[in-house]
Symmetry: D2
Subunit: 276 residues, 4 copies
């Protein structure tokens, strides 16, 4: 087990980690994660789950516990949201990833979800990192809004050092002075992660750009940069969504996007193939 | 109680909050908090406690649980550290402020400490904020490393909205591109906090500057900016300290500093007194 | 002419600008600009010029006047460097882009170069912008190290409003807290530029990443993001270069990279083609 | 002369530079610079000049050439503005500091002004730095919006290395993620500048905070931090001003502020006096 710790990377060779989430593997092939920002109700979530499954998604995302800047903003449906996600998994077979913010929820969320998400604001919540590190459930660790690569990797190490090697990193944009986009997607961090760790890494262009119109290009660029997958927010009717309206793709847009991503992934294999 | 929530500030007038910590009041007069970065052992902590008490400190700070970037760095003495702080309180009468990172430690830390500290990395740990909000113990809420005033105030609101009005804000420097200092102390946030909230606010120049040589000037500037207090890291022998060596004042330096701060505080009262 | 000003973009439709540089057009097809960071001597520059021409480059870059943080660092060969660039153009037919920092050099640089480059540090040197705006020579306007899109576009407008419509934007990384890379390449700005301006935009992954090992992936991602070209620093022997050693590609690496970029550009045309 | 270069500071001792501007000396005592953001007309400027002179200002500031984000914003009165400043000097005896952006204006501005100001956007306009370095007129060098101390000091060195030792640094706030203030005033840079250079340094709290309500506290804090002076924007009627309305003090407010600053400066001398 100790061989898997990042601190062991000083050895010159390492084998890339592949993380199993339900029947799906992250780090081998390209992973498509999609779903609503927040679980709003059963109809919304099931509609989305069936549509993204049909379009080719591998994992369903959806927030039941939402970290919100203000205590008076909608905080998520909580356990009721988990029930709805569970129903969506039952109907579609898609494994579920959902955010966890409270160590006391680990047992409950474990029952319903296939992968924990640690959000940006909790990247350095070391208590939470250690506790999910004591489980054997996969963890999607988002980069903090101003975290350096070194800080981020050390947070992954908090999980690994407790015995859980199933960690996937997620670049979701860093805070910069640019205001046109919500954050700045740092795609150069993808090959950088590959240089210094054995962990899979995916990209969340929805939160990074905050603009639906930029998501497609950033997905294609993420494939080109070597990302192991993308995580996208979708909604049947973005204008009616409870949060993050400006960055949500419609279900039809997601369907078209998946086809382009798949073409791009095949093209990259061809481009990078050693010439004869 | 609802009148104390920050969201109630839209009313044109507000009365400044004074927060009692043991026998001491923050927000009335100037508060001097001092102590080691981390509780290393009984001798170190008791030596410091007696020295800062004699120099004029009002509250003793000291870390028992330390948030560290790497899981392999010293993580603090934990409950043993709390015992030592408790002993220091018993001997000196100084109330204790110490960092809390885990909701499961609330009961234990409550027994030993007079004030919870929420560190920068946990500013948006909403679960932790809500739980300390359910106690009636004072909370020192540090500003996140890149938090805006609005985000910070909303974190205070998380505590207040659960029923605990005893919140003190602490400016500890924000991350900027300057490398000469560890962070950049944002003193303009002090009068800004006073404009839009009723909460006391203090300054931590040790973490902000990361350089002992800059601490004195920043303490004096903090008084001039209207801060309700300062929090300083001291050590009998900075070169031997377990962490943050570059920013620690010696006990003699702290003694000299307190005298200057007290002169400055009196001078400010004179400068701001309405002329006749 | 006024129709070309960016301020005229409030009209709902606009036609994309194509900028001619010598015989080459930027904004139609994909542009490859390559060359040394700084012109060191005739042999170095001619070797590079012939190699990048053969590999498929469209324009030769090279610095004769170098903006250096310290006045005691090498400041470039000046007019001697321009002579060498001119010789390279004569031998290879490649048009030349070179940085200009001084309004008094406009006439001299105009004689030798086909395109002015305005560097990051001079993005808001409004005097210089206005003066190159009075010429009819193409201008490559690099984004300032912390410029927002709006600030950058307004700098282009300074040039356009003086009568010169031949402006190409260049994203070269923005300053962030990440230290693994020299700057953070902001690829989401590429589709953003396309949304709100009619100007071509290219990417400089060499300065953005500061690491040769990341350049290839960022070039491919730039194509995917919709960039109109890339600008790369190369050197026959990076370890001996006078500046920016860590980010320079060898001539062989550049040759291999061009082939991948060309494949990627064709793949993108296929991926984005409307399905029948 | 070479002894004055900052690069000579590696020697263990240095003597603080005092810069003469007209009859006034910066770096000995506390300097008060005040005036309009921009010279709007003769009446406005003369009214201000007489008022700030009476209140105790030592130098009059005023912009004739204004660096504006957009080419369509008011660009300043140019040479007409210089004439008005010259008239103000004649009537009040106050020396004049005004921004210069164009090397071709050096002779003209030299005739009217006693001190050149290099603005934030031109901090790394190395051509301009070298040219003012060839004159013997004092230079007020503002810190770039995201400049590190090292970058800033190197820009001063550009001036000194050309032979002009009369440089005064000016901290004017750096760009951060805080939005309540226009920029973030970095007061810890004041003692840092004093540690590593022999140059005087002043503070511009008007541009740093962007809010008139915060200026007084930041002036007092600047004195406490060890600044050699402050530069303040004032206006007879801030609501009618052509630019920067939110940060301008009225003439009456400036008068009251000067009295507080003078008291603070005397208090600091007392606080820092060696105890007997």
């Amino acid at each position: 087990m100790d061989d898997l710790k990042l601190s062991s990377l000083k050895k010159t060779n390492f084998k890339r980690t592949v993380v199993s989430v339900g029947e799906h593997s992250i780090g081998s092939g390209f992973t498509l994660i999609a779903g609503p920002c927040t679980v709003e109700n059963e109809t919304q979530t099931l509609t989305i789950a069936h549509a993204v499954k049909k379009a080719g998604a591998n994992i369903l995302r959806g927030g039941a516990f939402k970290p919100r800047t203000s205590p008076y903003s909608f905080q998520g449906l909580g356990s009721e949201g988990l029930e709805i996600l569970s129903q969506a998994r039952k109907e579609t077979g898609l494994p579920i990833v959902t955010e966890i913010m409270d160590t006391r929820h680990i047992a409950m969320v474990s029952e319903y979800a296939d992968m924990f998400q640690i959000g940006s604001r909790n990247m350095q919540n070391f208590t939470l990192l250690k506790e999910v590190g004591k489980t054997d459930k996969p963890v999607l660790l988002k980069r903090g809004m101003n975290a350096t690569l070194e800080e981020w990797i050390n947070c992954a190490e908090y999980i690994l050092s407790e015995g859980n090697p199933h960690v996937v990193l997620c670049e979701r944009g860093i805070r910069t002075f640019e205001t046109y986009t919500r954050n700045t997607l740092d795609l150069s961090i993808i090959p950088a992660v590959k240089e210094i760790t054995h962990l899979p890494v995916i990209v969340d262009p929805s939160h990074a750009t905050g603009r639906a119109s930029l998501v497609e290009r950033m997905c294609l660029a993420a494939v080109a940069a070597g990302s192991d997958g993308i995580m996208i927010e979708v909604h049947p009717n973005p204008k009616e969504a409870l949060c993050d309206r400006d960055q949500l793709l419609t279900l039809a847009e997601f369907d078209g996007l998946v086809q382009k991503i798949q073409k791009m992934y095949r093209a990259m294999n061809d481009i990078l193939a050693p010439s004869v």
